[in-house]
């Protein structure tokens, strides 16, 4: 879908930068986990609202907490939210989509497709709010709400892909040699959806950290923790008084990470799916139900 006007060398260059950026964020997160930095995010280490200085690179917030320290710790939080949610949602989506696709148009497919349709119909932020309402005091409520909502797009895509793959010779061969459905699905069909799953993992990761920002802003996100969402929520309270540091630093950190991951996902998608290149788009990618494509293109946030 991304056009490729630039030469492939330039595109490869951009890809490398994006990859390096994501790795740098990971390095920051690992540093926080092993205690090298970012551990002092809650400590009051300076005066209230200090401007940036050599001691406090980004200044301090209204309590005198160091903003740079909070920014670093938030990078770790982003991975703590994004990775489990992305892995769990994609795993659930792959399994449910695979089963539904393998048994397409049988009762089990009807039930699973109904489940997908039902979950997609409940607006995500209300679902998350209702979850936090229903599980008051449970710190994983937000993660759980995301996992329970974000698997549906993967499931839809894997279902379609499985229906397609099931017609291929290697699956016929596997069936003729007497393998059962579970083995065919797990060993022969799902591995062929791996690239799709990789793209989905990165997109769910992005959806999760973006959703965290909104939920924290609304006050139903993470508790007793620090995240870019919490910093931005703090900024929402103090912007009228002219304090921009929280907003600028946290937004920029989020923006760069999301942009890089989106770019990587795009490149990956381009490489996997020749049909998505503009010069060959057209006849081959006519969808049988064009109307459906509108509902399934994005994960249900934004």
């Amino acid at each position: 879908m991304t056009s490729r006007p630039r030469s492939s060398a330039a595109s490869r260059h951009g890809e490398r930068i994006a990859l390096a950026t994501v790795l740098a964020y990971m390095l920051v997160a690992v540093g926080v986990w092993i205690g090298a930095w970012g551990g002092e995010w809650a400590a009051i280490s300076g005066e209230m609202r200090e401007p940036p200085s050599t001691q406090h690179w980004l200044g301090t917030n209204r309590l005198g907490q160091d903003l740079f320290e909070r920014l670093l710790a938030s990078a770790a939080t982003a991975f703590e939210v994004g990775l489990p949610v992305a892995l769990a949602s994609v795993l659930i989506g792959a399994m449910i989509g695979g089963v539904a696709g393998y048994f397409a148009r049988r009762p089990i497919d009807n039930v699973l497709s109904w489940l997908i349709g039902t979950i997609d119909a409940v607006p995500f932020y209300l679902f998350a709010a209702a979850m936090s309402f229903a599980m008051q005091g449970f710190s994983g409520a937000m993660h759980l709400a995301m996992i329970l909502s974000f698997w549906t797009l993967t499931a839809r895509l894997v279902r379609t892909e499985t229906i397609r793959l099931k017609q291929r010779e290697f699956v016929f061969a596997a069936r003729v040699s007497g393998l059962n459905a579970r083995r065919i699905l797990v060993r022969h069909i799902l591995p062929n959806t791996a690239p799709l799953l990789l793209v989905q993992t990165s997109l769910v990761f992005v959806a999760a950290i973006k959703a965290e920002v909104v939920l924290s802003f609304l006050g139903i996100g993470l508790q007793d923790s620090i995240s870019w969402g919490i910093m931005i929520a703090e900024a929402g309270q103090e912007i009228l008084a002219g304090h921009y540091m929280n907003l600028v630093s946290a937004s920029l950190a989020l923006f760069v990470l999301v942009l890089s991951i989106n770019q990587l996902a795009d490149r990956l998608q381009d490489r996997l799916d020749p049909r998505s290149r503009p010069n060959t788009a057209g006849a081959t990618r006519r969808l049988r139900h064009p109307a459906r494509s509108g509902t399934i293109m994005t994960i249900r946030t934004s």
Binding site: I119, A121, F133, L240, P290
Partner: protein
Amino acid sequence: MKAGESLGRYALHRVLGIVPLLLGVTLVSFTLTVHFGPDPAWEQLGRNPTSAQIEQVRTELGQDKHFLLRYGDYLARIARLDFGPAFASGEPVGELLARTAPVTLSLLTPGFVLGVALALLLALAAAWHPRSRLDRFCDLASAGSMSLSLVIIVIGLQAVLGVWLDWFPVRGWRSDGPMMYLQHVTIPTLALIAANLGYNLRFFRAVFRDVLADAPVRTARAYGMPARHIATGYVLRAAAPPILTRVLVAIPLLLISGSLIIESHFGIPGMGRATWNAILSGDQPVLMAVVSLSSILFVLALAATDLLTALLDPRSRGA
């Protein structure tokens, strides 16, 4: 001619098909807000109640009944649009929603409509001239917009246009007179346009590219038919089903996320703020009404788009 069924049969089929979905979404909202939610019996009890008092209130609220009976009861209440009084204010939830809905609609409609229109125009122009400067600009704009959150855009615009340049009020809501309305609706409108532009632009452009690569369009362009004819006569019509689906389906979701974020931040007395207050205070009747109504609305919007698509494109009636 008939790829699937006649329109009438298709419509009937499709309308019956939404029943399981409606049951599904009401079951989810019932389970989350009523069954697992905080116990409303405590709201009605005084301090240190005896166990007999607790039992009595529970019986009054019907909590001792079987799960399915309570679910049936809940369905009947949704059908009658009777959600009882809100805990916080005592105002009937139906009246609360009827009072706040117009505010939300007048707040979000301009941003939604303008956003879609702008995205359509840009996408068509970009798809018409692939690799042009505009096309590349669309790449950048959608990549940037997709990487930002509505929250960031709202606060950022408020900071720049409201605090720094001081062109617009920084918060609040007034709709007495067109000038007041315009002043208060501008920042939310710009924020919605900016936040939704990325995904819309990308999707619309992909659809247009697809349609433009179709043989009839290529032929028409090769024969030098006027661009305007091709665009309105063929391209827009062929691209309509996926675009309509996306736009209609986005409405309930946008109403929810847009109103929650914008109204809670600017202190605008619409449905979003009422919902937000209910979320924070655990106001079960309000939450139950909003969750179930919005999900039902979504299912209905989806069915409506399918019918509309069937009307536009007989091929989609199959299967």
